[in-house]
Symmetry: C2
Subunit: 442 residues, 2 copies
Amino acid sequence: MSQISTKPPSGMRDFLAADVARRRHVVAVVQEVYESFGFVPLETPTIENLSTLLGKYGPEGDQLLYRLLHRREKLQRALGGGEVVEGDLADEGLRYDLTVPLSRVVANYRDLPAFYKRYQIQPVWRADRPGRGRFREFYQCDVDITGTASLLAEAEVCGAVATVLCRLGFEDFKILVNHRQLLRGLVAKVTDVEHEGRVLTSLDKLDKVGGEAVIAEMVAGGVSPAAAAEVLAIIEGLKRADGGVPEADFAPEAFAALRELFAMASGGPAGPHLSFDPTLARGLSYYTGPIFEIAVPGLAGSCGGGGRYDELIGMFLGRKVPAVGFSLGLERILLVMEERKMFPELAAGPEVLLCRFPDVPATEAVRVASLLRAAHRRVEVYPEADKLGKQLGYATTVGARFAAILGKAELDAGTLTVKHLGLGEQRVVPISEAASAIASWG
Amino acid sequence: MSQISTKPPSGMRDFLAADVARRRHVVAVVQEVYESFGFVPLETPTIENLSTLLGKYGPEGDQLLYRLLHRREKLQRALGGGEVVEGDLADEGLRYDLTVPLSRVVANYRDLPAFYKRYQIQPVWRADRPGRGRFREFYQCDVDITGTASLLAEAEVCGAVATVLCRLGFEDFKILVNHRQLLRGLVAKVTDVEHEGRVLTSLDKLDKVGGEAVIAEMVAGGVSPAAAAEVLAIIEGLKRADGGVPEADFAPEAFAALRELFAMASGGPAGPHLSFDPTLARGLSYYTGPIFEIAVPGLAGSCGGGGRYDELIGMFLGRKVPAVGFSLGLERILLVMEERKMFPELAAGPEVLLCRFPDVPATEAVRVASLLRAAHRRVEVYPEADKLGKQLGYATTVGARFAAILGKAELDAGTLTVKHLGLGEQRVVPISEAASAIASWG
């Protein structure tokens, strides 16, 4: 035995046939729904220049980037010149998300539509500590609309993800909604805006740790006790609206925008799921307007989130491009669907194992398999001249529902034996009718 | 303007909507055909341990591997201890092909079927010099059958790729076939087997450079002029069989195997395309039996190749596992299909742009779009309150065939205007019938 590990690297996974079937089921729904909303696909390379990636995800994100080591002369040069630092060793890295590549694409292809509605379903890589449902290679399913400040764009991305979740069989999800300017207005009303970051991070934990702990954390971060208590009181007041958008005496534009968004979305699939949550903060600093997060009962963390980010897309262009987006996390969705057994029966593997008695030439098996495949049956041919019992046992191993058996006498008569492995019944049918016999035999 | 390049890195590509549609068209055919042959999907991670990858592709291949730079403490340790060499800086790299990951998977999952028939359609990465149709990130579409020495496995993988190419519209391709032991037997008959590598490399160029140059190259490599001439004479003799498998007085098992394979395949889709080519060598040293390569007129290089490799799959298991595989190169297939205009019309982007007069509330657009989408139409909603002419112009930009226009009066009457942009005609229809009106209007 070799000493080399045959497991995938830490945080990485192999997907065998049943895994691939489940992943494809979800991806197919996401893709079909996103396209029904008029989004068009984009795929960008796994590898991006570090000049594109660095400085976009904060210092912690930069630490999680996978960098590609220089090769040959470039590496020799880097190693040959005295002290070596990280920056000398790499100028390319792996895609960390799908939003920065989108920004690069919007800057690079000037003939994109004015309102570029793209979706992208691809893996991203982060050298994070692996954990339950957290991997170093994972898939994001993003929709974004660039080029418009209209709230209809928010309504559309929320409608798209709501439709995806409904089509997958989720019924009890909420799309939590808040507005970045609402939180900023709240902080400005009560204390100094310099405390915005601290207040947001603390409020984000309210559901988990409770009001007192949140106040304590704000105070520890330099907010006065009176201001911290007032923030909490206002938040508690806003929460009494029970998911609707309440009245308030601050951040009037943010509240007006949320009210308009809720009204707009009420005609569509997101309507019943939108729920105002004044504590929602979303970590990423690049959001500028409404922010969203999906909440599914029983799932710690979220299946996805998004929001308006009017400053990011234009960064490579040198001018402002308004944008709004929503990202679904494929792994989180799969996790919940597996726990709740939400998958339909997914066809995978051969339907028919073609067996033959040893006196039947292999070319006959090739010929009959071709006929069945041309009639849209999925057929595996047993490759060796084993005893029939062993061949039939193998049919069960690969999950085939039928065995088709070629014998010399039947073959001379133009027939074969079809055996339904679940029912244990068998029929002799003309070869030309075997495909339809299989298709119609439950 | 930012100074940062917005192009993808060298050898990498962005795929906009039309590119993705063409790629998906091919991949869908490959996938469906491979599944009809009873192959099941496998996906492996982008990142593999270098201990898995190194030493499998020869010294030149190892040079082309992308390695991932260590991070944080591990990098600091590597840089802090005197002279730094490449091996200190990385222990993970990017997938270079799909065969080595398959070997790892076969070793890692012991409950796979005895004859594991897997297909895998994923990108691989090689830090090669980019060129026409040659990229640093490109897709391979592999089928492999492990666990059997039966020639039926060869017939099946050839049948699968032949069916793919026929279904895509190729008619004039050949599957060139040779046998690694035939070449070895030829060398042994004429000269010393130590010359095998040199003879193979030289013969591989016969079509390009002609017989005299091939002889000269063999002689320059140490083969005696008499032996070199004899090799060429035998090859020319074998080629007179014009693609069939001739008789010969050496390598009897190899010739018998090829004859059996041709007979077996004659009943299936590969039959008319198989063509014996005694000069076919295939670069990879790991082949042990029949070898294949697809030849398409007018394409320098190949759309794919494969063969039997009985030593490789078991390398992580410590025992021999026979295997045969065939790999199609997605990029090469796309290149030929684009040049020959072999793509059908591929639906992409919205069918309908939903426009509205400024006095119609956006929530009505959301509502009507939802109805059309529920009836399987792909609908984009124009997000802003621009003049109708501008909205209709935009419909053409995004390639929509229809504009659906919401006006206040029609809306009150429960109707909307559907405009066929190609015909320039328009109809007022009840909103509830709009989807079917669009679907049935050529």
